[in-house]
């Protein structure tokens, strides 16, 4: 049983009571809501006649359904309009702050909470979205919940939870140029599997993790859930504090000094005990691309689609299903796979550094003929910062479309979607069947720089060859 880890410390600090059935009532420090998973929770609250317990500890934005071309109201899609109107009404009725369209602070919930300084070390963070694990990058314990649990947090600022085990994922060495946090996490999931993390929180640690910038740590923790781990985290350190200082909701002046002292003390101690530990070597990881229908079906860009013989026996039925669905031949190189659509964005890779990495590849080059390529910034703040450094122009000149912020084609709840059997190179997080809006559409997950490279080449290619040569 784990002891002395950040997870244990934060868990103990937030324990309210023991519940019948053995679960723990856990206080939730920050509750984030959006338009898709909250309307039924508010409706249930109204049915029960309950108030929101601590409205100031819930923060709302709109992200999943917003169009990325014109965001003028009312939206062309009446259902999308109804969802946003419902969120606006619920926030207004219960006194919940809403960072809406055009506020300058709207964006994907997992992008805006960190950039506003809402997400802080040592908090428990819950949101009706599985990628809430993102916030673990700050040393918070953050996890996705369902709508009944959204109702519970609204009503009681707490949740009924079971404690997880803790697996430390220790990463030695340094990522090579052209290899990013996205590649690291796709590699980890490839090795540990999409269900390897069930029952665990993942603590990411080691020299390679220490060297990651905050936005890279967010990418890493974001996809812990794709490895089955409901939350992933990185211990807070000087990188975390430097990111937070001066953000709108970060503590100020003397409170800042006290906060940093408290945050430092939350990190897993040298004597911390973990339930499990797995080690990786960052230097050995190549740009990684998925070839199949789960995020665990990934390979280095210089590898070939695994054959059945190269696949563990119990993974073979899934591999066969993936060959059929993806129409990729086992034993053939993934590099050279032609793509139709290139998507840069999402809560995984829609932050400024992601756009910078992609723009560095796009600059002075041009999207291949017949390829639809588009960039969706993760938030209004990301968009403004990118425009301020001219990234929108770099992308437009290279033939990419520059869009308004939202979740977009990560899950295709807005008009951005694949058509028919189109195949996308995507910086998002899920390559499930039908995920990007077409029941037969296909997704290749990769880093934003790799997506930009695929857009230029019209096919999957090794971005390391592009960043080592001038266009």
């Amino acid at each position: 049983m784990s002891a002395g880890t950040l997870y244990d410390k934060v868990w103990d600090l937030h324990r309210v009571a023991q519940l019948p059935g053995g679960s723990t009532q856990l206080f939730i420090g920050l509750h984030l809501i959006h338009e898709v998973t909250s309307p039924q929770a508010f409706a249930a609250l109204k049915d029960l006649g309950l108030p929101v317990r601590l409205p100031e500890r819930t923060v709302a934005t709109v992200d999943h359904i917003v169009p990325t071309t014109s965001q003028a109201r009312p939206f062309a899609d009446p259902l999308a309009e109804e969802m946003l109107a419902t969120l606006e009404r619920n926030c207004s009725d219960y006194g919940i702050p809403l960072h809406g369209l055009g506020s300058g602070r709207q964006g994907i919930v997992h992008v805006i909470a960190p950039e506003l300084g809402l997400t802080q070390p040592g908090m428990t963070v819950a949101c009706g979205d599985s990628h809430t694990s993102t916030h673990g990058a700050f040393g918070a314990i953050a996890f996705g919940i369902g709508t009944s649990q959204v109702r519970d947090v609204l009503a009681s600022q707490s949740l009924s939870m079971g404690k997880l085990k803790v697996r430390r994922i220790w990463v030695e060495g340094q990522l090579q140029p052209g290899v990013y946090a996205k590649d690291l996490v796709l590699h980890i999931i490839r090795v540990l599997g999409v269900k390897g993390g069930v029952g665990y929180a993942y603590e990411f640690a080691g020299p390679a993790i220490d060297a990651l910038a905050m936005e890279e740590r967010m990418t890493l923790c974001n996809m812990a859930i794709e490895g089955g781990a409901r939350c992933g985290y990185v211990n807070p350190d000087a990188v975390t504090f430097a990111y937070l200082q001066g953000r709108p909701y970060a503590p100020k002046a003397e409170a800042w000094e006290r906060a940093v002292a408290w945050w430092r003390g939350l990190a897993s101690g040298a004597d911390a005990v973990f339930d499990d530990e797995v080690r990786f070597d960052a230097a050995a990881i190549a740009p990684t691309v998925t070839w199949g229908i789960t995020p665990g079906q990934g390979i280095g860009v210089d590898e070939t689609v695994p054959t059945l013989e190269q696949t563990e026996p119990d993974e073979r039925p899934l591999a066969q299903e993936a060959y059929r669905y993806m129409d990729l031949q086992p034993g053939t190189p993934i590099a050279g796979t032609a793509v139709d659509v290139c998507f840069i964005g999402s809560c995984t890779n829609g932050r400024l550094s992601d756009l910078q990495a992609a723009a560095a590849v796009a600059k002075g080059r041009h999207v291949a003929p017949g390829i639809k390529a588009f960039v969706v910034p993760g938030s209004e703040q990301v968009a403004a910062a990118a425009v301020a450094e001219g990234l929108d122009r770099v992308f437009r000149e290279a033939g990419f479309e520059w869009r308004e912020p939202g979740c977009s084609m990560c899950l295709a709840m807005n008009p951005d979607r694949l058509e028919g059997r189109q195949i996308s190179a995507s910086s998002s997080n899920r390559n499930f069947k039908g995920r990007q809006g077409s029941a037969t559409g296909r997704t290749l997950l990769m880093s934003p720089a790799m997506v930009a490279a695929a857009a230029i080449a019209g096919k999957v290619c090794d971005v390391r060859q592009m960043i080592n040569t001038t266009p």
Binding site: L13, P20, G22, G29, E82, A155, E321, R430, K433
Partner: protein, 208 residues
């Protein structure tokens, strides 16, 4: 798409047993996008989701999907393989299954958020070994008319022919479902004093 809706009797109160025929869905890592594609999440109530469960898989199999087969209409048990319900946290997935008629799920393993969402709706998720699930699925596919009884107290599944499978269910959820205390809201509201104390003790709540 047609489906026999049994929306009149969503789980309520203590659950001693789930009875009925079973639908088998074969495959590991079936994600919640498969169970309910994202386009059906454009709604402000869960009401219509029963008809849309597994929509894309059903369209692909044009009537041959287990959820469309005439002999399986009205079934109340779902039998699946490993890591069922992975991916998105959308409660729309168990809501869609429940609104189609599912009242219990048996599988080798479940994704955590899906498992918790089922519990919050009063839908028990039982587990069994790889071999047990395969043999159960095989028998149910061969004879889909079998009436099953899943007992919460003994975590067992008995087929109308008399055959018995031993299953497993976590002690906490078992107790919560059997006692009718699976809806957490009232329990969470019962500790107002302790909640206020916990909040008071957290530096970030009080400006450090």
């Amino acid at each position: 798409m047609t489906a026999a809706m049994t929306t009149s009797s969503f789980p309520l109160g203590p659950i001693a047993a789930v009875r009925g025929r079973a639908v088998v869905i074969v495959g590991d890592d079936i994600d919640t996008d498969r169970i309910i594609p994202a386009r059906f999440l454009k709604c402000v109530t869960f009401d219509g989701l029963g008809e849309q469960v597994f929509a894309d898989d059903r369209a692909e199999l044009s009537g041959e999907h287990p959820f469309d087969r005439p002999e399986l209409q009205g079934a109340s048990v779902l039998v699946v393989n490993r890591n069922f319900g992975c991916g998105s946290s959308r409660e729309h997935a168990p809501q869609a299954l429940m609104r189609w008629g599912i009242r219990a799920v048996v599988g080798e393993s479940f994704a955590e958020i899906f498992y918790g969402n089922c519990l919050a709706l009063g839908i028990p998720c039982f587990t069994a070994s790889h071999a047990s699930v395969l043999s159960l699925q095989e028998q149910l596919i061969a004879d889909p008319a079998q009436e099953l009884t899943l007992s919460l107290a003994t975590a067992s599944l008995e087929a109308s022919g008399g055959q018995l499978w031993q299953l497993e269910i976590q002690a906490g959820p078992q107790q919560m479902l059997a006692s009718g205390q699976w809806d957490a809201t009232s329990q969470l509201l019962a500790h107002e004093c302790e909640l206020a104390q916990t909040a008071e003790s957290l530096p970030y709540i009080n400006g450090f």
